[in-house]
């Protein structure tokens, strides 16, 4: 009697064949019988594919192999599923955003633009974003780097542990809460002391403060990680030469970790530039070009929100173009940061 040394296997083309059959059957069900549209067809073909694959494998290869195949197709499917929104967002923003991509958009503001005007631009919003993010960087980056130096180089005992823990917790603070905090603290308590009529002042600077609150934990975390990667031999070599600790940190440790720190800062900037909620609460949403951050300003993200909630028929075009501008800025920063990280000598 012959004994089979290898288990029976489905032919290689079987999954592809089952997939094609599933799509055809789903198409017939949805469009032939009029059950539904494209979304349902996608759902149906996925379900049919999994069921078909399970049955076929179970008959040929057995139940364990069948479960394995189903799990594999779920795992591949999950990845493909995640690509749909990413591709869809990028394609949509590109197609809709190019309609108003002209000099007028980047050269003018929304000052005196009424619902009937087709033009109007985002110059003021771009100025606002640049200034607010720059101020936030000036506040958050030195503070964040020093904080990380404390955690890694100086901190011992409970205080350092508590700070490390709350930095992690702080990364999860909702951006709207940061906005409310600056509203309750800076706008409602501090600014009335300095304004001429004692009324609270909404300003781009307040938005910068909120963005700084959001950036701070991100900067601390990424710097902290980078400082931990700096080899201890470098520090010890420096100490052996009689160099004090603070000079070792500023001249040896921080420069070594610099590319990684810059990456973290760029990612934090990318995130801050895309924040809408805090800016909505405290920036004042000026429609005119305003270089002074201590008075009402707008920002690109806020501009998208304003235009998206505007009833003018020209507003959506402006919103999409601003969204395109924003996404280009943010993705460029992100990609550049990741490439920089790859070139860094310190890597895990």
């Amino acid at each position: 009697m012959m004994v089979a040394l290898t288990a029976r296997r489905l032919p290689r083309f079987a999954p592809v064949g089952i997939g094609a059959a599933a799509v055809v059957v789903a198409a017939v069900l949805c469009f032939g019988l009029g059950l539904g549209g494209v979304v349902l067809m996608g759902l149906f073909s996925a379900v049919l594919f999994v069921v078909g694959l399970y049955i076929a494998t179970r008959i040929v290869e057995g139940p364990r192999a069948a479960r394995n195949r189903v799990a594999t197709s779920f795992i591949y499917g999950a990845f493909l599923l995640a690509l749909i929104p990413l591709v869809s967002v990028i394609v949509t923003v590109l197609t809709k955003g190019t309609a108003r991509l002209d000099g007028n958009f980047f050269g003018t503001s929304m000052n005196l633009i009424t619902a009937r005007d087709a033009h109007g631009g985002a110059y003021h919003a771009i100025i606002g974003t640049l200034e607010q993010v720059a101020i936030a960087v000036v506040i958050a980056v030195p503070l964040g780097i020093l904080g990380a130096v404390y955690i890694v180089e100086y901190g011992r005992g409970k205080l350092a542990k508590a700070i490390q823990f709350f930095v992690d917790v702080m990364t999860g603070i909702p951006s709207i809460v940061a906005g409310l905090f600056i509203l309750a603290f800076w706008v409602m308590v501090i600014t009335p002391m300095f304004s001429a009529d004692g009324r609270p002042v909404l300003s781009g600077f307040a938005a910068s403060l909120a963005l700084a609150v959001l950036m701070l934990p991100t900067v601390v975390r990424s710097t902290e990680e980078m400082l931990r990667l700096v080899p201890n031999e470098l520090r010890e070599g420096s100490y052996a030469l009689g160099i004090p600790k603070w000079k070792t940190i500023t001249k040896i440790v921080l420069p070594t970790a610099a590319p990684g720190i810059v990456t973290g800062v760029m990612l934090a900037i990318a995130r801050a530039a895309g924040e809408t909620a805090p800016v909505l609460l405290v920036a004042g949403a000026s429609k005119a070009i305003n270089f002074d951050p201590f008075s009402s300003q707008s920002s690109l993200a806020l501009y998208v929100y304003d235009q998206a909630t505007d009833s003018s028929k020209f507003a959506p075009g402006r919103a999409w173009t601003a969204a395109l501008t924003l996404i280009v800025i943010v993705l460029t920063l992100t990609v550049a940061a990741k490439l920089l990280a790859r070139r860094s000598k310190l890597s895990r």
């Binding site: 539904g36 795992i75 990845f79 964040g144 924003l326």
Partner: protein
């Protein structure tokens, strides 16, 4: 270098004494101050939100915790957190139900299925998803996702309408389902990247032992990778939950902004604390702002608890290793 002030140490002489207010001490205090700032900010957030919420809470004519409506700008202000808190938790829960299986699938794909080199590039693609600003997701969800979701809602209503969550008779569109789908896309990257990291750390010995015993790939994952990564998965899900609870603009643009406690997922409606702050801020008066700050305080407390729980799990795991 200032040659006049530095004295060359001579053999046999004591090292120069550490000065009390030298650069070292100043630098150490500077870094300590920066570290303490983080604690100060967290305490300050709680303090200022409480201080500014109290006047509005005193003026409130209804119970803040149980009242469903939101009329803080009336002559006799009435507002309560009940429907908003319910909506926040509901949309975040649905978002997690949708996102977690997909995120774990992607994480497994990147850690155990895709070839190493491809996995790095594909992981980068998922990171790009995390970089897209929430306002863009909101705009996209409101203009484009609303069609497919409405189509799905109609089908669910016709075929599964006997379930209360899919009941009602329309209109379908800016519903909890739409908001949750957008939210799910937004929390996907964070859950993916954290659980992927945990999956990669599974000891190779465990995996190889399972394979050697004849396990299929899926059985190997079920018996070695998933049990090993369980605390990490829980922490990742909690961090995703924290993110979902606090998401503002995307929900402000995709939810229907109602003030009802309802489990219906597909009818126009749904609201969240954060979305209500963004929507209601423009027309809020003195009491209105206080009321929104009070709701923000509730949100801050909820997210703080969720995040702290997640971090404690992560820390325990780190010590365990």
């Amino acid at each position: 270098m200032l040659p006049s002030t530095t004295t060359e140490p001579v053999a046999g002489e004591l090292l120069p004494r550490r000065r009390r207010f030298g650069a070292e001490t100043i630098f150490r205090w500077l870094t300590t101050g920066a570290g303490v700032t983080v604690l100060v900010i967290i305490v300050a957030i709680a303090t200022f939100l409480i201080v500014k919420a109290i006047p509005a809470l005193n003026a409130n004519k209804e119970n803040f915790l149980t009242y469903e409506g939101w009329f803080p700008n009336d002559a006799s202000p009435k507002f309560g957190i009940a429907s908003l808190a319910f909506g926040t938790v509901l949309s975040a829960t649905i978002a997690l139900l949708l996102a977690v299986p997909v995120a774990l699938g992607i994480a497994l794909f990147l850690s155990h299925y895709a070839p190493r080199r491809v996995a790095t590039a594909l992981g980068f693609v998922i990171d790009l998803l995390a970089a897209v600003p929430s306002i863009v997701f909101g705009l996209w969800g409101r203009e484009y996702l609303v069609g497919p979701v409405a189509e799905l809602s109609t089908w669910l209503n016709q075929n599964l309408g006997w379930l209360p969550i899919f009941g009602g008779d329309g209109p379908f569109g800016k519903s909890v389902l739409l908001g949750s789908v957008v939210l799910a896309i937004m929390v996907l990257p964070i859950i993916t990247s954290l659980s992927r990291e945990v999956f990669m750390q599974t000891p190779t010995a465990n995996e190889e032992a399972a394979i050697a015993l004849g396990a299929t790939k899926w059985e190997m994952i079920r018996t070695s990778v998933l049990p090993y990564g369980r605390p990490g998965i829980i922490a990742a899900v909690l961090l995703g939950l924290g993110r979902a609870l606090g998401e503002t603009i995307a929900l402000a643009m995709t939810l229907g902004a109602g003030f009802l406690i309802s489990f219906n997922l597909i009818e126009v409606g749904g609201n969240s604390i954060a979305a209500n702050i963004a929507n209601g801020f423009g027309e809020a008066g003195e009491i209105g702002r206080g009321a929104l700050i009070a709701s923000g305080l509730v949100l801050f407390t909820i997210t703080l608890i969720v995040n702290m729980t997640a971090r404690i799990i992560v820390y325990r795991r780190r010590e365990f290793r």
